[in-house]
Symmetry: C2
Subunit: 245 residues, 2 copies
């Protein structure tokens, strides 16, 4: 058996998220269907660095799979891409150590979130950014983001639906940049809980719009209760950008 590590990119608009669900079009289903074809009908399971929700995009999701076939890695990419639908693409394939695991070996992730502030809706951004046509004070948002940096229990910034016990994570970097009507958020950390980036963005937006003070972040973290944080920002603005190993 050979273990392969692949970096994949997908436009989440047409998927009910990453993970296999009965009767739904998911990223995992599509890739496993292609691998089954390449393996003449044999099931080949893939493991990803983590799930993404419906509508959420990936520029650098990482998966691994095992195969008895030993094609050159460039051939693997061409073979898989030629059978994948146009909204998923394999960026690279490399041979990995037989112990490599896309999820358990990941020691960090980068997510980005995009919003645009134009007064009119932009049809070309509807699936790729959050339309927020109100003013935002970036200085206040950056001030709030400093309280989020470092190691904290992020229970307040995590969907109540999560099954994970340990909610302590470390955020290394939060960057908030403006380019005309476009605002981008960049988060790098050792791991992110279910909906965590979207709740962080939603809360930072409430700070930027003046509904909350930057200092409230301290209290929200202390409460360890989802109800104290802001709204969950919509999925279409979110991109799993990179996974670190």
């Amino acid at each position: 058996m050979n273990r392969y590590k692949c970096i994949i990119s997908y436009d989440g608009s047409g998927f009910s998220g990453y993970q296999v669900q009965p009767n739904k079009r998911t990223v995992q289903c599509q890739i496993e269907a292609v691998l089954a074809k390449i393996h003449k009908g044999s099931d080949v399971k893939i493991a990803a660095s983590g799930r993404t929700d419906a509508g959420v995009h990936a520029k650098g999701q990482v998966i691994h799979f095992d195969s008895p076939l030993s094609l050159p890695t460039e051939k693997w990419g061409l073979a898989i891409n030629s059978m994948l639908p146009e909204d998923i693409s394999v960026i690279s394939v490399e041979k990995a150590d037989s112990t490599f695991h896309a999820r358990f070996d990941a020691n960090g992730k980068e997510y980005r979130y995009f919003l645009y502030q134009s007064q009119k809706r932009d049809p070309f951004q509807r699936n790729y950014a959050f339309h927020y046509p109100f003013p935002l004070n970036l200085a206040l948002m950056r001030k709030a983001s400093i309280y989020l940096l470092g190691t904290h229990d992020f229970s307040s910034f995590c969907s109540a639906r999560t099954e994970v016990e340990d909610k302590v994570r470390t955020i290394e970097t939060i960057e908030i940049l403006q380019d005309g009507e476009r605002i981008s958020f960049r988060f790098i950390g050792n791991g992110f809980l279910y909906n965590m980036v979207r709740i962080l963005v939603g809360t930072l937006i409430e700070v930027g719009s003046g509904k909350r003070q930057p200092e409230e972040i301290v209290e929200i973290l202390e409460k360890k209760d989802r109800r104290y944080a802001g709204k969950t920002a919509p999925g279409q603005g979110l991109y799993l950008w990179k996974v670190f190993y």
Copy 2:
């Protein structure tokens, strides 16, 4: 009656083109359905500067319609946008002279065409640009484009399916720009025939790839026969950018 001129933008990916067709989702249908709602069920026909094909986008399509209602123009925009699907947006509404006609009064148009050359397919560009992963010589393409400038019979650059008799048009501007892996074409002229921009781009690509010499443009124009020009470039790279009055 009041006549209104609207600039609209749409993502063509989800439409069978601009014009009404039975049982198809078209831009015109969607807008007329919204206007019928605003007019309590009365039909309100719209006229556009011209059609766009399936998958072709518009940043600045222009339409007009007549209405007995006399709302402030900003209210019109908000009312229509609140009922339109997310892939169409009204950019502006203004009161027009009762003799204004979106098609007959147009005296020029700008189209843009985008292609990207990255080796890997990009899921985020699949509906918005043409993936052409081969080298292109821009100097040759620019040289060829000079032969297209000015007033010519463009029969060779027009779909055989067209019904228009007079195929003489004037192209004022052709710009070909490169930004990393992205190449953009900009065409400004007094009017464009059916599929003309896509055939121009397809032919320029054949020049850029070395299949044709720039000088062949002269002969193609003289032949006045579609079979002498290059392939029709795919629709998803094309944007109706602006209409001039």
